[in-house]
């Protein structure tokens, strides 16, 4: 079994080098004059606290409850548009967008969203995601930010989580078989 341990150790060592060598910054970042807060089931998260929604402390999104948000642009942006996207490797997938002529010259926005109805639109999602947000004024990027969110569902309660675990076991066995080689008569 010592050779199996060596193999697992080699894989872990390569993974560790990759992680330490290219670890993301991990903290919440905001570029530009925008700021905001989100209160989820009584706990407030703010862009002023760099540890809120960081990689070490991602913002949890439970299946039930409400989120109350408040945001300010720090100045009038018009016409304005923006979007939220989820980072998937080298690409980003837009999950929400907004657009307004802002004729009322608003600089702040507040509101409440139901997590219960949101979770019904996103069934079977678990794990951690990097979320990025962009806000544009008159076609130019006005401010942007990023942070981490975590869906609190158990991975084994989602099809993707089950596939991930089963796939790891099956391909791990395949790698062991490859490491054993195939016998030949001399």
């Amino acid at each position: 079994m010592s050779s199996v341990v060596r193999f697992v150790g080699a894989f872990a060592a390569v993974g560790t080098v990759l992680f330490v060598g290219a670890a993301p910054a991990g903290a919440v970042t905001v570029s530009g004059p925008c700021s905001g807060t989100a209160t989820i089931n009584g706990k407030q998260y703010t862009t002023a606290n760099k540890d809120d929604a960081s990689l070490a402390h991602p913002m949890p999104l439970p299946k039930t409850g409400t989120v109350t948000y408040e945001g300010t642009t720090g100045g009038v942006t018009k016409p304005e548009h923006g979007h939220l996207s989820v980072v998937l490797g080298p690409g980003e997938v837009t999950i929400y967008s907004w657009k307004s002529s802002n004729t009322g010259n608003k600089t702040t926005d507040t509101g409440t969203k139901s997590l219960t109805s949101a979770s019904k639109k996103l069934p079977g999602i678990a794990g951690i995601y990097e979320l990025k947000g962009y806000h544009y004024s008159n076609g130019a990027l006005y401010c942007s930010g990023s942070g981490y969110i975590k869906f609190t569902d158990s991975p084994l309660s989602t099809p993707l989580g089950i596939v991930a675990v089963a796939g790891t076991v099956v391909t791990g066995l395949g790698l062991l078989v490859a490491g054993l080689g195939k016998g030949m008569r001399a």
């Binding site: 993974g15 490797g89 794990g127 990097e130 016998g183």
Partner: protein
């Protein structure tokens, strides 16, 4: 004498790296960034080919009784 399985090692290593990246994301350890979605499958590919060529996990040879 034993023969290697580099193709199996390459495919299994590549897929294992991808599934490990997915496990890390699903268990909220690390999101699917460039390192996990590209780096781990690449590391798996390299390790898989090496295992397939060198097959270091082969059962030990029995020494004949003297």
């Amino acid at each position: 004498m034993r023969k290697g399985r580099p193709i199996l090692g390459a495919i299994a290593g590549l897929l294992l790296g991808g599934f490990v990246a997915l496990d890390l994301q699903q268990y909220a350890i690390r999101p699917l960034d460039n390192v996990t979605i590209i780096g781990l499958p690449f590391a798996g590919l390299v390790i898989g080919i090496a295992l397939g060529v060198l097959h270091p996990l082969r059962p030990g040879r029995r020494t004949p009784p003297s």
